[in-house]
Amino acid sequence: MCARIFVIAFIVLVSCNKQVSSPHSALSFTNVTVNAGLADFKHVSGAIGDKWFPESMGSGCGFIDYNSDGWEDIILVGGGDWTEKSSNLSPALYLYKNNKDGTFVNVTNESGLGEINTYGFGVCIADYDNDNDQDFFFTTIWNNYLFRNDNGFFIDVSAGSGLEIDSLWSTTSIFFDANKDGFLDLFVGSYVDWKPENDIWCTLDGTTKNYCTPELYNGVASRFYQNNGDGTFSDKTEAAGFLPSPGKMLGAAELDFNNDGWPDLAVASDTQRDLLYLNNGNGTFDEIGAISGIAYDENGRARAGMGIDVGIIDKTEKETIFVGNFSKEMISVFQHSNGNFFDDISGVSKVGRPSLMTLTFGLFLLDVDLDGDLDLYTANGHVQMGIEETQDGIFYREPGHLFINDGNGIFKDVVPLIGGPLSTPIVGRGAAYADYDNNGTLDILVTENNGPAHLIKNNNFNNYLRVKIKSINSNRDGVGTKLIAITKDGRMTRKVKTGSSFMSHSETTITFGLGENRAVDSLYVYWPNNKTDIFLDIESSQEILLVESNEN
């Protein structure tokens, strides 16, 4: 590994205010959905009374710079209708172009996505063909879609891509460079073997049908596709060690807990054990979830894992996995300890108890107050309409959680303190973040099941540094790149990644919250191909683009 000190490319995109951080109670957010022009979106579950299982699960959302103008656009999954029943099919996807003034315009048709009719769930965005634009993968209950971006117009290249599969219910997907060959591979989570023909009658009150929980259906194994580098993929699920698998997977996040430079994968599974795939560095993985201690709760029971994310939340520099679970199951928090073991720190982190009663789907770590540490946002909402009538203390519509990190990995849910749009009860599902207005703060996008999307503007300014990555020798997006920023107050470690949360995609630009610091003293960039660059003395409150050197 060679360490060099020089700035390869340093593009100042934005300059912003330098303000002092606010106390937790003063944190402020604004729901800008209507003003932003997103009010016409509504997720369609297709429900017409039969209470079919998939209706309660969707759907995802994402930020995508589809026209490569440096402003994050928004993609929303519309859900779908049951073709057996509906003659007027709802759009499966919605794409909103960022007008760079805080508003968006619906460009679904112009971008080639208007004719997609299916029953959709999630999106994952990446430049899978290394041609410098953002493509995306779209999961559905039937065949999934791979969309290639050609100058802002999406071409459905699923046929012949190697990603055509039997009709399986797919959920979350994640692009990551498993074998570090410079092309992003794809892990596609599958859920259960549900079809209208095998729908099961479930009830809460003994008389009326309600949505089932996944215990009653057989899980379907997730799949792993290796990118061949020519626009096609090969199914390596079995060869790479992803079989057998319990299925019922809803979330996946990239991590490298043993710091060997090879991307591992943490998987959240619904009523099945959570999984941890250890990358052996030779194209294969070992599933060590049970051995590591992340698979089950303290009674040996599998939880209902939904959204997932991984990050470094304290000064230990150990990666911590967060998994959103069902009501009466706390959010799981597992911190790497040593070897292949993780410690359950849901209690110690203070995330556990406040999350006990909520059902968490979307979940991600972000530095929401730009103070230098990762905070935790969760989108919550139950799957059973009318759950209030049968279970006390549980609600169908639930407020989100915003856990603010004190810098030592101890969190406090501030939503009850600050109120505002995060405290509005919703049927939360997908969630993602990005700085859509390029002002340095991370804004939140969240979807509701059979309901609207919400764009929540973050009003909590502070000094920051935003870093875009462009890799040359590795995958173009630099997925897997680790960045460490050092300021007077300490170090911040972040990673470029896709996946995480629940069926959703957040921006891949890295945001370092600098608090009162006016500069980053040094920025270490560990590229996926093991090269390291070091940049010194970078001014705060700007966005820079780092392009990997072509030199060896």
Binding site: E215, A290, I291, G293, Y296, G300, V348, G352, R353
Partner: protein, 392 residues
């Protein structure tokens, strides 16, 4: 832990009230019903209870017993009806409100449980009831109220170990590990033989970065409960942290093997509790428990299954076999005889009955049993060999 306490309480109530029953016929029926219940003959217990009720519907004791049997069968709505009958007869009847509360709790109805537990507290204040109230608050996510309830339980009875352990759990969930350890220490001091408490203490010590101190606790648990997944896993973790990698690998691997069984048990248990009238769910639960060596719990599951299909010979046979494994020779004999009274041609049961008699020194009975088996299977070499051993 809670069930155990609950049974003790009920036994006290029953014997206490029975002294006041003047009608000897009813007293006899109550005694028989109680015996049937304790022996796992749930249908018989219910039938006898109903007979007693027909003789005197105003006797709270027998409704109470009926409620307990129905609770055991997870027939919560009927159990609740029985307990309310008790209350309509005697609204100060000890345990009636408590048992309704516990039924509520098992059905995720925590607010109702709290209400009913407080009714019990009004008449019969106890640390046990206060702990249950705390548990209900905990289920509702109201940690502060739960905390107060456990402290109140300690005020009522400072020697009540579950209150300290519940406080310890609360502290752990709140991330206050040292506080949790202190409460757990007190709980263990009061109930030093409680294996669950030992496991919990081990977990706290491991979480607190004291793997060396946690190891003896986990070792104790894996010895006493060889099916305990987490004890094996945590012992493996603790050993790894103190550098004992080889031993660690052994326990981690063992934990991995156990987990599948644990998951299976939990799945069947959930399904059986949700659908208590489904015979096969109880059978599957019993089988999964039995395959993990959890004999007593397996027997309990099969007993519920038998109450749904009382004439099922295979279940009766399983229960007899498990009784034998638990050292209850008498019950095994009674169960085998019951099967043979339903179908006297089952060779395996005659064979088993002979084995039980032989192993308890009843040579003539053993011989008679095996000879009956040979009548149906004259060439069965195993039984012929068994008979030869008697002659020797």
């Amino acid at each position: 832990m809670i069930i155990k306490k609950y049974l003790i309480t009920i036994i006290i109530f029953t014997s206490c009230q029975s002294n006041n029953i003047s009608d000897p016929e009813i007293a006899r029926l109550i005694f028989q019903a109680e015996s049937a219940f304790r022996g796992g003959y749930y249908n018989a217990a219910l039938s006898i209870a109903d007979s007693a009720i027909s003789l005197n519907p105003k006797l709270a004791d027998i409704h109470f017993l009926k409620g307990r049997v129905l609770t055991k069968l997870s027939r919560f709505a009927e159990a609740e009806d029985a307990y309310f009958q008790v209350i309509s007869i005697d609204n100060k009847y000890q345990g009636a409100w408590f048992n309704i509360g516990t039924n509520n709790l098992r059905q995720n109805k925590a607010p109702q449980a709290i209400y009913n537990y407080f009714n019990e507290m009004n008449e019969h204040p106890s640390a046990q009831t206060m702990v249950q109230i705390g548990k209900a608050y905990s289920d509702l996510g109201k940690a502060d109220s739960a905390h107060l309830s456990y402290e109140k339980a300690i005020q009522i009875n400072s020697g009540f170990a579950p209150a300290y352990m519940r406080l310890s759990h609360l502290k752990k969930d709140a991330g206050e590990i040292n506080g949790a350890i202190n409460h757990a220490k007190k709980g263990i001091e009061l109930e030093p033989e409680n294996i669950d408490y030992k496991y919990f203490m081990g977990s706290l010590l491991l979480l607190n970065g004291q793997p060396n101190l946690s190891i003896p606790y986990f070792e104790l648990v894996v010895n006493k409960k060889p099916w305990h997944y987490w004890a094996h896993h945590n012992l493996g973790q603790a050993l790894f942290r103190v550098g004992e990698k080889r031993k660690s690998d052994f326990y981690i691997q063992k934990a991995k093997e156990l987990q599948k069984g644990v998951q299976e048990v939990e799945n069947w248990r959930n399904l059986a509790n949700m659908n208590p009238d489904q015979f096969m769910l109880w059978i599957n639960l019993g089988n999964s428990l039995n395959s993990m060596g959890r004999t007593k719990e397996a027997k309990d599951a099969f007993l519920v299954a038998l109450s749904i299909k009382p004439m099922n010979v295979a279940v009766q046979n399983n229960i007899a076999n498990l009784s034998l494994m638990l050292g209850d020779t008498l019950e095994a004999i009674i169960r085998y005889q019951t099967i043979l009274s339903l179908d006297s041609t089952i060779i395996d049961v005659w064979q088993n009955l002979g084995v039980v008699y032989a192993s308890s020194g009843k040579i003539n009975e053993a011989r008679a049993s095996w000879e009956r088996a040979l009548k149906h299977a004259p060439n069965n070499n195993t039984i012929i060999e068994y008979l030869k051993t008697l002659s020797q």
